[in-house]
Symmetry: C2
Subunit: 297 residues, 2 copies
């Protein structure tokens, strides 16, 4: 068997993004955790961590973390079958990466009953899609919600549905920038909002209007902040329909051009040998998410 | 004079979190940008970057970035005085780090008119307070909003006011966990919500009730997601009052124990030689934020 004390040290340092915090979580000293990682490296004969801020796993480190994650999930199952092994009534914990817009809209409602019934604690990580999958590959999360279908090795992906986005702005923004009415060719000359460097929704929208090339934009990597900036009239941007039912009804936000939504698929990536609880959560999501997501065309 | 082509390469790689994207932003090849950084290191005689994912600056790299940031701010001023230097009507851009809760609540409304009048684009970075200040020190942002007062060298800090947080839960959560009424000693035995490893608000709240030690909690690093999880009854947590006026009025959320708020001060950190636009924004915020923030006692 592997020495899991060493592997747990590696996992703690990576998951807590530092030696000090990793040591705190394990309840050992920083020099103890650092010793364990050196010992692990001595046994394997190569480094498992890049000592940067935060420390990142090497390729072999990543493979070890992936293994740790899977063992943890299997341990959970065993504990439910062998209650004596279980620390009295301790709740389960699942680490899940998801996109900010899901977390800002349907996620809480979709999982609340499940968490209460299963006494499950969530450790949520907000990531854009590419990084979410990287964290799966690195074994840092048990599951991940993202827009790309292709699962990492050892995992499965399940289509949950699509989130519908609409290009919105405030009435004041529209009055200021489009006094003669909104025209597709003028949209690219007004400031847009973009979530971050990996957010190409606004580019896709402009492309669908036949507009290519760059455009002025604010960067705002927060779902709620993004919506607030649109409401306050700083720019136009693509916002999940789920987040703005109320604002659209009240006329606080308006669609730039009528009925031109963009649908983004959401896939649930989960480890194949992820254990019972993860399997149950997967089934639960497959049943429940249709309430909030639209079918992918 | 320094060779700013080399410094700009360093800044692009750090700000874009990678060589590839850094090269894209500068419109050069990846090998060109990598050459420039090697040349910079050869001239200085030591590494400026740790080649991890993402690349992080070394100590000397950080000092260089700080310098680049300040030069950029000064260039902005010069452009407004020497219009010929200015690329025709190009909007200004300020990179600002702020806490997620400010962005989710008062920030957009506070700056929208200023941005429209000054033709200012925002490049917002969401960070908890300690990391926000690190980004100031690294010269990656022009300003930062955080809870700690002490400015980094070369910068000033200005108290904007305090955000008021209240410990909230859904009526269903309270009915399930506190059938006999909410009692301080029982709160620590119900699941809490915590924003991330640096969020000690829930700990402070429990301490104010005389409860010490650990407690079950979900982790949710998103303001909007945090509120949604509280609404959906997954746990109790401290939420900015500004964010939930409506929910408190409608009774969708209730305060755990009557009138026990926690106030968190917010400081505006900005470079002393940050240029005119940053100075104007500072004055604007000093005047405007009283509408949303409470005086610090």
């Amino acid at each position: 068997m592997f020495d899991y004390k060493l592997l747990a040290a590696l996992a703690a340092v990576v998951e807590q993004a530092g030696f000090e915090r990793g040591a705190q979580v394990l309840g050992v000293s920083q020099s103890a955790i650092s010793q364990r990682i050196k010992l692990l490296e001595a046994r394997i004969g190569q480094p498992v961590l890049v000592r940067a801020t935060p420390p990142t796993p090497t390729d072999i480190g990543r493979r070890l973390l992936n293994h740790v994650q899977q063992v943890r999930l299997l341990e959970r199952d065993l504990q439910s079958q062998v209650p004596a092994l279980d620390e009295e009534g301790m709740p389960e914990r699942l680490r899940i990466a998801l996109n900010a817009d899901s977390l800002a809209t349907w996620w809480a409602e979709a999982v609340s009953d499940f968490c209460a019934e299963q006494h499950l604690l969530l450790d949520l990580v907000v990531e854009d899609q590419t990084v979410g999958l990287k964290r799966m590959r690195a074994g840092e999360v048990a599951a991940c919600i993202c827009a790309s279908e292709r699962p990492v090795a050892g995992a499965r992906s399940l289509l949950l549905g699509a989130m519908r986005y609409r290009a919105l702005a405030s009435p004041a923004f529209i009055a200021r920038h489009f006094p003669g009415g909104v025209r597709a060719d003028l949209v690219a000359r007004t400031p847009a909002l973009v979530f971050g460097p990996d957010d190409f929704l606004q580019h896709r929208y402009l492309a669908s209007l036949g507009v290519e090339g760059g455009f002025e934009h604010h960067l705002c990597p927060s779902s709620e902040g993004f919506m607030r900036l649109v409401e306050a009239g700083l720019g136009w941007g693509l916002v999940p329909e789920l987040q703005v039912h109320d604002q659209l009804e009240r006329g606080v936000l308006v669609e730039l051009l009528p009925d031109k939504p963009i649908d983004v698929p959401l896939y649930w990536h989960h480890w194949r040998s992820g254990g019972q609880l993860l399997g149950m959560l997967t089934e639960h999501l497959a049943r429940a998410t249709g309430q909030w997501l639209v079918p992918l065309e």
